[in-house]
Homo-oligomer: 333 residues x 2
């Protein structure tokens, strides 16, 4: 888009994932809701960590994963999120900068440690997330550089930012600046239980605050308290907000006013771990969107990026998405 | 073996790996010797980390990987190694304990941080390792609990312990206790350049100090300064020390006095990352050895464990080795 230094500026919780293969029985024994994200305090996180199996650590965070996807597609990106000045914080910062992403949010010198998400991956490739927000609770409006927001074609915000108290203010500040600069604002609803926690505010955002909303089937049904996908779809139809709705193996549906596109899913030979599927869908979609591609092509790029990340362990692309998209005929340069 | 609480006690550097996919050109630009391990000081490690791509973190360390393999095969194991009381140290301790391994080495409260190994994996699946020893330099003889050594059928030591100054004393102390208790002592030569650094001492250990030695082709050729594998083999023949020699895709050769077994390799459909192949070979071999299996079967178990770890990213088994070995007919219960 004209004069945009960054295709996408992402604002989200800066989290290091701890991924562990887990038996179904472990979820039952610990009363964990499969597929959902729950928040843990420091003590509960320590206890769950003690009881879970050996892990693999990798930078995560929903919006940060999307930003990594934008970079993997060859786009330009910036990220705002709060780590502590500790080892996990160094890892998070290194990984996002190593992708060429602009990341200058100052780390917290004191207070809680860098956030961790204990991700239990069951043999059905589903992930169940248990998040200790740590330093993310210290993200505030001062961390949002107005200039960076103005330089981004799209500012992308995660619903999870409603959990740490001051992050919401950072979210609102960025939204106001972006709108004043005639830039686009995108939101992901993040998680069905997150939508339950903040339903009224999220409804308001979707209908009046943002230009683009990303949601999966459970999230959009929770937002409108309806029981079928089509009911949710009809609620979005005709609205000014562009909605990209993901449906796992059913593909996705893109709604823009009265225009509706039903996008086939990308085939995944062997799903391994669904962590980050929604994040990568958003990356593919926004990469296309910032280039002015038609909506069906944006949705197909989203599906392609999601398929890549489902096919292996971890929430960020392993194979450069730009190459995959070229091979698939979705990008030509 | 009779009265042994642990099949294997491992003593080694306690390291967290940082694995990153890397282009061949990166190795050339940074003058890194492919396939080798080099030691870095804190500053050089920071610089290399800044310049390398995004990573994935996982507990590593040569002997610790072997211990993880023993646990994955269903064996009992203990580990001695030094981390700092920091986030990476917690991760290392969690991962090894989550395998059911006895690990009670007290973490260092001050001094350098937990060790990291920056592992660059090239498209040919080779790994090039760059180690910052950090807290490992504070491992000393006091960290070796004589009782634990006496309780282990085999005490397994890594040649890398010759790098941090006080660790060598811990090594010698453990060796003395094990021998006095009529237990077995095993050594891995670790790395050809490590052998170069300590050739005389390693020759002495192999010929007089230990009962079992593990080495790959480059390491055993370096030890005896010979240019062909067979020359090295002839040097070992007839000695009291049992030698298990790994040869990558050529399989392995086991030498015990005048008995020589040439073991076929286990097929690997798609090698991804050779990190930990030697460590897992030692795990499979020692698991069989401590059960009194014949040497060919010990070697086959080693090859099977190595093949598992080569087929994915990271140095520790993902699929339970015990299940694989049963499916392969190498274990019957």
């Amino acid at each position: 888009m004209p004069n945009a230094k960054y295709d996408v500026l992402g604002i989200g919780n800066a989290i290091v994932d701890v991924l562990a293969s887990t038996a179904e029985s472990f979820l039952l024994e610990h009363s964990l809701r499969k597929g959902a994200m729950q928040l843990l305090d420091a003590e509960a996180a320590e206890q769950l960590y003690r009881e879970m199996g050996p892990g693999v650590e990798a930078s995560g965070g929903s919006a940060a994963n999307t930003i990594a996807g934008i970079a993997s597609l060859g786009g330009t990106a910036a990220f705002v999120g709060k780590v502590k000045r500790d080892q996990l914080g160094q890892i998070f910062a290194h990984d996002v900068r190593a992708l060429g992403v602009h990341f200058e949010t100052p780390p917290a010198d004191g207070g809680p440690s860098t956030a961790r998400c204990l991700i239990l991956v069951t043999p059905d490739a589903q992930r169940t997330m248990n998040t200790y927000l740590g330093a993310c609770t210290t993200l505030g409006p001062d961390d949002v550089d107005p200039d960076d927001v103005r330089k981004a074609a799209v500012t992308y915000l995660e619903g999870y930012l409603w959990d740490p108290p001051a992050a919401k203010e950072a979210f609102r500040k960025a939204m106001t600046i972006a709108r004043a600069a005639d830039r686009k604002v995108a939101l992901t609803l993040s998680d069905a239980f997150c939508v339950e926690r903040y339903r009224d505010e999220f409804q308001d955002l979707v209908e009046r605050g943002v230009d683009i909303v990303f949601a999966n089937e459970a999230e959009i049904c929770s937002l409108y308290q309806v029981s079928t996908f089509d009911d949710a779809l009809q609620r979005l139809r005709g609205k000014a907000t562009l909605a990209a709705l993901t449906r796992s193996e059913k593909g996705s549906v893109v709604v823009a006013g009265d225009e509706i596109h039903v996008i086939d899913p990308e085939k995944v030979v062997q799903p391994v771990d669904t962590t980050g599927a929604g994040d990568q869908y958003a990356a593919g979609f926004l990469y296309g969107y910032t280039r002015g591609f038609d909506l069906a092509r944006c949705g197909a790029l989203g599906g392609l990026a999601a398929a890549e990340v489902i096919s292996h362990y971890g929430a960020r692309p392993e194979t450069p998405l730009h190459e995959l998209a070229r091979a698939r005929g979705l990008l030509h340069s």
